[in-house]
Symmetry: C2
Subunit: 188 residues, 2 copies
Amino acid sequence: MSAPLYIALLHYPVYNRNGEVVVTSVANFDIHDVARCARTYGVKAYYIINPVESQRYLAQRIMAHWQSGPGAEYNKSRKEAFSIVRFADSLEDTCGAIEAVEGKAPELMITDAKKWSDNTSYQEARELLSDEEQPYLLLFGTGWGLTKEIIERADYKLSPILGQDEYNHLSVRSALAIILDRLIGVDR
Amino acid sequence: MSAPLYIALLHYPVYNRNGEVVVTSVANFDIHDVARCARTYGVKAYYIINPVESQRYLAQRIMAHWQSGPGAEYNKSRKEAFSIVRFADSLEDTCGAIEAVEGKAPELMITDAKKWSDNTSYQEARELLSDEEQPYLLLFGTGWGLTKEIIERADYKLSPILGQDEYNHLSVRSALAIILDRLIGVDR
């Protein structure tokens, strides 16, 4: 990989289990596990997108414990992982912030538990990421997943992660780890 | 994969940050994320190994909410994921339980954040797992990792998961997801 790769976890708009569009809450492990994984794979920044100010504040308070509070001394690798975490109100703001840094709007790559006729394979996506001129934003949904509108406007839809049979109910944290490894990892 | 594959998360004996051998606590997300991932990849059973009875009891109470309590109706896929979770006092008991089911002791495959001179690559491990006669136990440590004694007695030590540079501080949940995908996953 040489492309500037960004990831984001979207809390709105996403579906709930009844197919209604909702805002989800930030989960503590979504901050920790995803930041550590993103830092390991050389992701430039990890955006937590949530339009609710108190939710962003809560996440920032948790992070402050590890960045400048007692946790900073206790676990230096956690502090380093959190250095790439950013907060945003919306997907639009996230894309704008990336464009401001990179001088070019990111192409949007999404993942979904469902198959789409125009899915991009991981091998194709790895080739895309070899272009160092093009920033990419890899977007993950919370709750019951990204809305149809967001999926349809994405530049690339990665194939779903399938296991041994029809059961594929990975947590977003597991799916994200697997996808980063498929896109960037090397068996050394 | 056709080999009967089992996974286990060890809470004792493992190191703490000072290199002392300790018992760690069961984390809620270790139950959920790992069970969902194991079920997705066709793992036969997921053992949570902890010698402290109250810890096993706590984990069983959390699971009961999703298996027979209000969660069972709310989220059926969680109930299904939990159907492969087992509890054990020790690594020895886990190996014994697998041998009782399979008629053959499992070979022990471990993973560690450090490189060893006799590491097994993921490609080699995939080939091992094509032998349907041989059960395998893939063992993960909590805390600051498996003790040297356990690592040295393992039949196979998988290569560490490395990212873009020296930083590799994945959570055990992320490492486990990535390793199952490397061993079993297919880009379809």
